[in-house]
């Protein structure tokens, strides 16, 4: 049966479920886990898989179907039990507007006590599942890189953000294939292959994982080769070929149903039935074990080498240019004018534009100059989003906070001009009731939610339109300090920084890949004391000693300097 609740709350849903249990005697079988599905598109297909899997794993299924852009905030729910829910029970949460900002509290009342939580993103994978507010409380985090736009890029991001308990359906799609390859390996006389080829597209995550698994397990580099020209167009692995001393073992997919195995002793070909796996099977397999799949983690790490050089995110982009003015005031005016123009261009092309603001003397001065500049450039501020590159984790009204510095000169006038409060993405403070780590993860998630699946790549599409950054005398930007270990953390979009060399010690900062996902970067510097840092940052990209050298915009990077700050630049 199906019960629908409109404009409701989690506690009302919980109450309704208890009433339904008492009235209809539904839900009497023990539930073994809570499955949370974060849906962005069609919900019936993943829901169908969940219902099918519930026969093997009786679960409470929570589907979060969000519309963050809705005009008003509110929650509708649909409860399905009995025949409409297989052996489980289903709650579909249709969340509108700001509710998405506190997803964890939305589901908290509906979680089964003590039971494990599994979160599944059927389409849009978060950049780091463990840092997701729901992912962080889940034992198992299931993504499907193949269903995301840019599957390989997604898989790379998942590798960067990998944590024990992550799993991807591109990996479970391989299970039967892997079983077959493992059993073919055992065909006597057993010997380690001298050559391994995996046929399929390099753009397919399962193909990449298969090659990585074989390379890692057998210690022989597996090559990905294009399937033969006349091969039908299968997604996924077309074939695997192991070349041994005694001949070749070849497994080739010949139809959606079957594979042909050729052995050194018998080239007539053995027919092996291996239908493509359905979503139902994949999910049921994922739910079978909730302990970390360490092998997946290692295979993922084999597939993509880690990025040790944080400079990678900045490289390959247009070289920075300098814009030198007389003093700080003039620097701020120039920067504000350029920013306004860039935002105006952005809004011509897209429905919204994203601006990252900063603190410090020049940063605050630029903020002050912005309202007038925006107005002059004809920017529709109601379509603007404001973000911060870093923030101090102190009292919300402390003058240490970057946000407090721009409240009066920038935020108030813009709000008066029509900037919606929900477009101002302030980094949390201790007053928000979160620990530093949770606050950073939360902010990263707000970024992910606003930017969808695409943004935080080394290259490719940008998310921010303009990123304003101050530079410290030591060359730091945001809260990424020279030779400070937190600088190297890139698993999430935003990180917690402790022991900052500059007080206050606790901060939240965006990370390298995110800072490098802006179209235009503006570095705002004035004063002689920063001249040396500016000079150093004009050298090679070298993030560890000189963070300011390693942020670049996809279209432009501009140093807005006064003459004093530019004094050490070589002519």
């Amino acid at each position: 049966m199906i019960t629908t609740l409109t404009d409701t709350t989690a506690s009302a849903i919980d109450k309704t479920m208890i009433e339904m249990r008492e009235t209809f005697g539904a839900n009497t079988i023990g539930r073994v886990l809570t499955l949370i599905i974060i849906a962005t598109g069609d919900i019936e297909e993943p829901l169908g898989a969940a219902i099918s899997a519930s026969h093997e794993h009786p679960a409470r299924v929570l589907v979060v179907h969000a519309d963050p852009d809705a005009e008003t905030s509110g929650l509708d729910a649909e409860i399905r039990v009995g025949r409409d829910a297989g052996a489980g029970e289903i709650v579909i949460l249709r969340a509108r507007g700001d509710i998405m900002a506190s997803l964890d509290t939305l589901v908290m009342a509906l979680l089964l006590p003590d039971a494990p939580i599994v979160t599944w993103w059927p389409e849009s994978a978060p950049s780091s599942p463990i840092h997701d507010v729901l992912g962080s409380m889940s034992q198992r985090r299931i993504t499907d890189s193949a269903a995301c736009s840019g599957p390989i890029a997604t898989l790379k991001r998942l590798r960067r953000g990998y944590s024990h308990g992550d799993s991807d359906l591109a990996w479970s799609r391989l299970t039967r294939w892997r079983g077959l390859v493992a059993s073919s390996y055992e065909v006597p006389p057993v010997s380690v292959p001298t050559k391994i080829e995996v046929a399929g597209s390099e753009e397919n995550p399962s193909v990449v994982l298969m090659a990585a698994w074989l390379s890692r397990s057998l210690g022989v580099d597996a090559q990905i080769v294009d399937p033969s020209q006349d091969a039908p167009d299968y997604a996924g692995v077309h074939g695997v070929r192991l070349t041994r001393e005694d001949g070749t073992i070849d497994l080739t997919r010949v139809s959606d149903e079957a594979i042909v195995l050729t052995l050194p002793t018998d080239d007539s070909g053995q027919h092996v039935t291996m239908p493509r796996r359905t979503l139902n099977e994949l999910l049921a397999e994922e739910l079978r074990r909730l302990d970390p799949d360490e092998v997946y983690g290692e295979v993922l790490a084999t597939a993509f080498s880690g990025i040790d050089d944080m400079g990678t995110y900045a490289s390959g982009k247009p070289a920075p240019t300098d814009s030198i003015s007389a003093d700080a005031e003039a620097v701020a005016a120039d920067a504000a004018e350029a920013t306004a123009a860039q935002l105006a261009t952005a809004l011509k092309a897209r429905s919204s534009a994203h601006l990252v603001v900063t603190g410090g003397t020049v940063g605050t001065a630029t903020a002050k100059a912005l309202p007038a500049a925006l107005s002059a450039a004809g920017v529709d501020v109601s379509r603007l989003h404001i973000w911060w590159g870093d923030e101090r984790f102190v009292d919300p009204d402390s003058s240490d906070r970057n946000e407090v510095g721009v409240r009066d000169p920038l935020l108030e006038p813009l709000q008066e001009a029509g900037l919606p409060a929900r477009n101002i993405h302030v980094m949390p403070s201790p007053a928000d009731g979160m620990s530093l780590d949770d606050a950073a993860a939360w902010y990263g998630q707000q970024l992910d939610l606003s930017g969808g699946d695409e943004p935080f790549r080394t290259r490719g599409r940008a998310f921010f339109d303009v990123l304003l950054l101050g530079v410290g005398p030591d060359g730091h930007i945001a809260s990424l300090f020279p030779e400070h270990s937190d600088q190297r953390s890139v698993s999430a979009s935003a990180i917690a920084v402790t022991n900052s060399p500059k007080p206050p010690p606790e901060r939240i900062s965006l990370t390298w890949p995110v800072l490098n996902s802006a179209r235009h970067v503006a570095l705002l510097v004035a004063g002689e004391e920063k001249a040396e840092a500016v000079a150093a940052a004009h050298g090679e990209i070298n993030p560890w000693p000189v963070p300011a050298s390693a942020v670049r915009g996809l279209e432009s990077t501009t140093w807005f300097l006064d003459t004093a700050a530019a004094s050490r630049l070589d002519d």
Binding site: E257, D266, H271, T273, M274, D293, V295
Partner: protein, 520 residues
């Protein structure tokens, strides 16, 4: 999971050899290694309805190697194609996972048939050739299992022929296994005789006794409940448990099994193997590991500690169903079933009290009962607890309070039920029994081919924990023989109405101890 170190056999050994099988990679399906199976009695009912479909279903699930070969051996003058047609018919009628042409094609490539009788040496030479051909062309690697789906009296001939043709002897690194089905004899002497025949030809660790009823799920569930939890073990002893009831009831009659059943009876048919195995798993001490040898050591220990009642007449019961209406259906009495002599004294219901002479269980009787045409189909183990030593309630408050119980439901509706007292809402203070239920999502059914799938796969993988060894078989006959001897001399089966819980003598037997049977 094997006891032997040479030659390597079994999943563990293969794990070590194959770098693709990372023990942490628990997703990877455990597919049987290259192998073939030779089936004797392939035209029998069991093969047609259960074994061939189970092999097909395993193929469908991708758990058999692509090279798998299946050789039928029988009297019929069949070609490989005739045999394939036979397999196709059997599979399309009885497979669990649905018939798919593609899966059958896969199986088809490895199907062979050898015509011959059990005393035809030439036929066994031909069999040797066929098996060798499979090794060469399919890559079965010299690993062959022999499934004896034939009456025990044919074992000596087949085993002798296998020995003579050398088929029982593995080459380097490969294995030969033999599978036999229960009954493993009908008493201690016959069990030993049967075993001598088989173990003369195959090594003891290569003999797999299939007891399809005791599937892996049940065994593993009991082990998990007992040894993975802290909650139950402290009360799992004579200090808290009053008695244990193990029931295996069927609501059907003997059907077409008259030929086998008459003269054997319920005690030999199911108590000797199934119920005593359930008892062993319930009562045994914690094994040091779940390796086959360690599990077996504990089961053997507890079976050897079982004591029979002194007066077997008082503490056992025996019954035979009469005719009548059962659940809306008129059924025949046992005496009138097809193929049963009118003066048969075979029992269709058996119950007995067993005691276990260990510190853990001294004074806790284990009541076993099994039968046909009982109230419903159910198998369960119930631990009934002692009453609380003191109840700070008025006696009228607890009038409805029974004894606490933990019930392990083996089938159907596999799960665990806990019964305890709870206050009735709204009343002043009234305590009544309530139950708390846990059901496994998946049902586990007695004769489901799934049991055969698991057993055949485990056998091919060389994973033996489920398969009883000869010692256990002999121990259980030692328990049962005195009872069946006594019955033959002194106790005729008492009649009981179909669809009830057995004869009055069974109820009287418990009443003597001041207890009653649970209604399962």
């Amino acid at each position: 999971m094997t006891d032997t170190s040479t030659p390597p056999a079994g999943a563990d050994a293969e794990d070590r050899l194959n770098p693709l099988r990372d023990p942490r990679d628990r997703r990877l399906p455990l597919i049987a290694g290259p192998s073939s199976m030779v089936m004797f009695g392939v035209t029998g009912d069991l093969a047609r309805k259960k074994l061939l479909p189970a092999i097909y279903d395993l193929t469908h699930r991708g758990l058999l190697p692509p090279s798998f070969g299946l050789v039928g051996f029988g009297r019929r003058d069949w070609s490989d194609d005739d045999f394939a047609d036979y397999v196709r018919t059997s599979v399309s009628e009885h497979s669990r996972t649905g018939f798919s042409e593609s899966v059958f094609e896969q199986l088809r490539g490895g199907l062979r048939f050898v015509t011959g009788t059990f005393d035809d040496s030439a036929a066994f030479e031909k069999l040797t050739e066929v098996v060798g051909e499979l090794d060469r062309t399919r890559g079965t690697g010299g690993n062959h299992a022999f499934y004896l789906s034939i009456p025990p009296d044919a074992f000596p001939k087949v085993c002798g022929q296998l020995a003579e043709s050398g088929l029982n002897t593995p080459r380097d690194g490969s294995w030969r296994r033999v599978v036999i089905e229960k009954p493993f004899g009908h008493d201690l002497a016959s069990a030993r005789e049967l075993n001598d025949v088989v173990e003369k030809v195959f090594r003891p660790e290569d003999v797999f006794r299939i007891d399809h009823y005791l599937g892996k799920e049940t065994v593993q569930n009991i082990l998990a409940l007992r040894f993975a939890n802290q909650l139950y073990e402290p009360v799992w002893n004579a200090g808290y448990v009053d008695h244990v009831q193990i029931t295996m009831a069927e609501d059907i009659g003997i059907g077409s099994r008259a030929g086998y059943y008459d003269g054997i009876g319920t005690a030999r048919d199911v108590i000797q193997n199934h119920l005593l195995q359930l008892l062993a798993l319930t009562a045994m001490e914690e094994p040091v590991s779940f390796r086959a040898s360690d599990l077996r050591a504990e089961k053997e220990k507890v079976l050897s500690a079982i004591e029979l009642p002194e007066d077997l007449g008082e503490h056992t019961a025996r019954g035979q169903y009469v005719g009548g209406w059962q659940g809306g259906e008129e059924v025949r009495p046992y005496m009138e079933e097809d193929g049963i002599p009118a003066d048969s004294t075979t029992e269709t219901f058996a119950a007995m009290r067993l005691d276990i002479a260990t510190r853990r269980w001294a004074g806790v009787p284990f009541y076993l009962r099994a039968g046909k045409r009982l109230g419903r189909r159910v198998t369960e183990i119930a631990l009934v607890f002692k009453r609380a030593p003191f109840l700070p309630f008025r006696s009228t408050d607890t009038a409805d309070l029974g004894q606490n119980a933990i019930v392990i439901r083996v089938q159907p509706d596999e799960g665990v039920t806990i019964r305890f007292g709870s206050k009735v809402p709204g009343t002043q203070m009234e305590v009544r029994d309530v139950t708390m239920d846990f059901a496994y999502g998946m049902n586990f059914t007695e004769e489901s081919p799934e049991a055969y799938e698991r057993l055949i796969l485990d056998m091919l993988l060389g994973d033996p924990p489920l398969f009883p060894r000869q010692k256990e078989v002999e121990l259980s006959w030692k328990i049962l023989d005195p009872i069946t001897d006594y019955w033959a001399e002194h106790m005729k089966p008492a009649p009981y109405r179909p669809g009830t819980w057995g004869p009055d003598t069974a109820h009287e037997m418990l009443a003597r101890d001041g207890r009653t049977w649970r209604r399962p």
